[in-house]
């Protein structure tokens, strides 16, 4: 699944085989206890999550091969793990040939430096359940979804060749419709920032890309009617002790709107935000879809406070999205010059 997903977005990949020293035992590192710290509350009594937070990390979502039983690394192993990941992710590398070089796009100055560091708890994956730290096996797709996926893969192949037919061949992020603002929130190469605002009865989460906010009522009101469909769904929150629990439904049914192209009719997501210390929120999400995965799975990503030293800035996207014109106009010129899209070999 992940390999197909990767090819479907047409990225050039440099497969890295990294050797680790023999990893002994399964020493599990217990989280450090800060018995004296208590969550501050807003004047109206809700746990205080307000601030600007960053979720960048190099810890992969799924546990890398060869580490299936090892959830947490020792300090020495963690340093090595971080170094290996950073070497693979850094944009300052110029090796690997011209294709790899051009695909790295820019240098490290444009990237979020925090994405070269692993999580402080030294986990080997962001996924905490299932215990092997991997996305669960996939359920076979229905014929309709298979066809839809094949059509999208064709569009992605056209895009990857630089020859998209029209703007619909481009992905939602390229079109500046949604980017990292659709739940669940996952780290990316830059602008991994979220600002949380609170008021009586609400928690608002504003991701940097693309300038939207989820304004989440915590007063127990029902969801909007089931025929109302939104790109970011409809979220409802409640406090479970010091944890904000958010359920989101009413997603649109367009392809690619739902995380990993799961089935919008049966996809469910629950997110949990817990402030664990002055500088940290633990963001945990559980997703399930019996039409996509054989079981639910959960990941936890720590968020680090960055304000006031660092701020979130406006991320306008559609307004100056010259890239779309370059991609489409460029495609028309190259077609005139006789270029064609290489035939896509369907995945088995």
């Amino acid at each position: 699944m992940s390999r197909r997903f990767v090819s479907s977005v047409g990225t050039a990949l440099v497969a890295a085989v990294v050797s680790f020293p023999a990893l002994a035992g399964q020493a599990r590192k217990a989280p450090a206890k800060t018995a004296t710290w208590t969550v501050p509350h807003t004047p109206w009594g809700d746990p205080d999550l307000q601030g600007v937070w960053n979720d960048a990390t190099s810890t992969p979502l799924s546990r890398p091969g060869g580490l299936s039983d090892k959830q947490v690394l020792t300090d020495e192993e963690a340093a090595e793990f971080q170094r290996e990941l950073a070497y693979n992710l850094t944009r300052d590398r110029r090796d690997g040939g011209a294709q790899a070089d051009v695909n790295r796009a820019y240098n490290e100055h444009w990237m979020d430096a925090r994405r070269l560091t692993i999580t402080k708890d030294h986990r080997t994956s962001l996924i905490v359940d299932p215990p092997d730290g991997r996305i669960p096996p996939l359920v076979p797709l229905s014929p309709e979804r298979q066809q839809a996926r094949a059509a999208r893969a064709d569009a992605a192949a056209r895009f990857a060749a630089g020859l998209p037919d029209n703007h619909e061949d481009l992905s939602l992020p390229v079109r500046c419709i949604i980017r990292t603002d659709s739940p669940p929130y996952l780290p990316t190469i830059y602008n991994n920032d979220f600002q949380i605002f609170q008021s009586p009865g609400y928690v608002a989460i504003a991701p940097e890309m693309i300038h939207s906010a989820r304004i989440i009522p915590v007063d127990g009101r029902p969801h909007i009617g089931s025929t109302l469909r939104q790109w970011l769904g409809d979220s409802r929150g409640r406090w479970d002790g010091n944890t904000l629990v958010v359920e989101t439904s009413n997603f649109r049914t367009d392809q690619g709107v739902i995380f990993q192209d799961a089935d919008p009719a049966t996809f469910r997501i629950t997110e949990r935000f817990t402030r664990v210390d002055a500088q940290t929120i633990h963001y945990e999400f559980t997703v399930e879809d019996p039409h996509t995965w054989t079981r639910p799975w959960t990941a936890m990503i720590p968020w680090t406070r960055i304000d006031p030293a660092e701020q979130m800035y406006e991320y306008a996207c559609h307004e100056d999205n010259y890239d779309i014109v370059h991609l489409l106009h460029g495609a028309r010129i190259r077609e005139k010059n006789g270029e064609t899209v290489p035939k896509r070999i369907p995945e088995r």
Binding site: V6, T11, V14, V17, V18, A22, D92, D101, A105, I189
Partner: protein, 143 residues
Amino acid sequence: MRTRLSFVAGGIGALLALAATPVVAHHAFNAEFDANRPVKFRGTVTKMEWVNPHAWIHIAVKKPDGTMEDWMIEAGTPNTLFRRGLTKQSLQPGMEVIVDGYQSKDGALRANGRDLTLPNGQTLFLGSSGTGAPYDTPPKKKG
């Protein structure tokens, strides 16, 4: 005993393969910019667009025959630079920059700014905070 660790990497691939929205896959760079048409030139900044999703540096380049060409150089999100303390004052028209990149496949005077430096060799937008540990050398392998 060696434990082989293999995972798909390469900058874009690792996290993005498993990410919700493939933000950088948005730009199949080697599909739009030609690996076989590297460019390296020195030019004078005429305009800097501090915009998303990509900043654009407009430079005037003097060709060997003396005529001028206007190039547009694509860069990353300016928001990262803002957080490093840079502002629109940090790159003014008239400054000289050296562009190391790859030209657009359709032949337009447009390039991917793979590496941007000043004539003195300093990386453009280095900023006071730097980039942290240098990760561009392979880590030492342990036996």
